[in-house]
């Protein structure tokens, strides 16, 4: 716009700026200042997004290649796991005997009674802590592959000679249903002491059995 076409009220401002803008020092400073401002704005709004996109895509390529390799490894691992699972399929039911999905308190009591009979020991008392008969539906909070084990305390009192009790203990350790022995205490047997039962010992056991609960 021609300076003479400026309205009268603006013309005085232009006239006051004219001597300042005409100075060589101001011209140099203005050039440098506007250069940096232009480069800064151009860098922020044009160069930065472009380089950012380039770097993002490069990073994405690297990540996708890594994911591809890891997925390939995982597929191989899954195939291997499937083969192992097929091999051990017949043995898998043993796990459900060792740690059943419900307490099966009667079954363990029966097994302990049978073991006592087998080892010719006299089972005088067995006490199993209260356990739920029905297991609640699996919790949605836990994923299906997370198995939680619940304990079931058992107290056992058994009489017999040293050899009989040793046989009972060996049998207990060889039992398929997993039980851990928390404490053992021996005392002289007092029940029905006869001439043949002088060497009898009373064995008090505190056991813990386990069952699955999700």
């Amino acid at each position: 716009m021609d300076k003479f076409s400026l309205p009268q009220e603006y013309r005085k401002y232009y006239r006051s700026l004219e001597p300042i803008l005409g100075k060589p020092k101001t011209k140099q400073y203005s050039t440098v200042i506007f250069f940096f401002l232009t480069v800064g704005l151009f860098g922020w709004y044009a160069i930065r997004p472009t380089i950012q996109t380039i770097l993002y895509l490069q990073r994405e390529i690297v990540d996708k290649k890594a994911v591809n390799t890891q997925m390939y490894d995982k597929i191989n691992a899954l195939i291997e796991a499937q083969a192992i699972l097929e091999n051990i399929q017949p043995q898998l039911e043993v796990i459900s005997y060792a740690i059943p999905k419900n307490p099966q308190a009667v079954d363990i009591a029966r097994q302990l009674k049978n073991l006592a009979e087998t080892s010719q020991a006299s089972l005088s008392a067995i006490q199993i802590a209260s356990v739920p008969i029905l297991i609640a539906t699996p919790s949605a909070a836990l994923p299906s592959y997370v198995v939680k084990h619940t304990t079931m305390p058992i107290t056992l009192s058994i009489d017999g000679s040293y050899n009989v009790l040793a046989s009972f203990m060996s049998g207990l350790l060889a039992m398929q249903r997993i039980v851990t022995i928390d404490s053992i205490s021996f005392s002289p047997s007092r029940s029905g002491v006869s001439q043949f039962q002088v060497n009898e010992i009373r064995l008090q056991l505190k056991l813990t059995a386990y069952y699955e609960s999700n």
């Binding site: 020092k25 800064g40 922020w44 043993v94």
Partner: protein, 66 residues
């Protein structure tokens, strides 16, 4: 007075320019360092070890049911 004002403006511009450059640099570094994988993909690529303790299973098989 005017010359000082010009120099101040010049310094402000220089510092602004440096700030913008640093900002761009750190943005680009962040873009390079940040993984593009989603949480689902990260969960999918979790390594799986196809090893099973078959010795324990064999021991369990040899145990008895009374």
């Amino acid at each position: 007075m005017k010359q000082e004002s010009d120099r101040d403006l010049y310094l402000i511009t220089i510092f602004t320019f440096i700030t913008v450059l640093l900002w761009i640099y750190f943005e680009l570094v962040r873009t390079t360092k940040t993984s593009t994988n989603t949480a689902v993909v990260n969960q999918l690529i979790t390594p799986l070890t196809p090893k099973l303790d078959t010795d324990t299973l064999d021991i369990l098989t040899t145990k008895k049911r009374y």
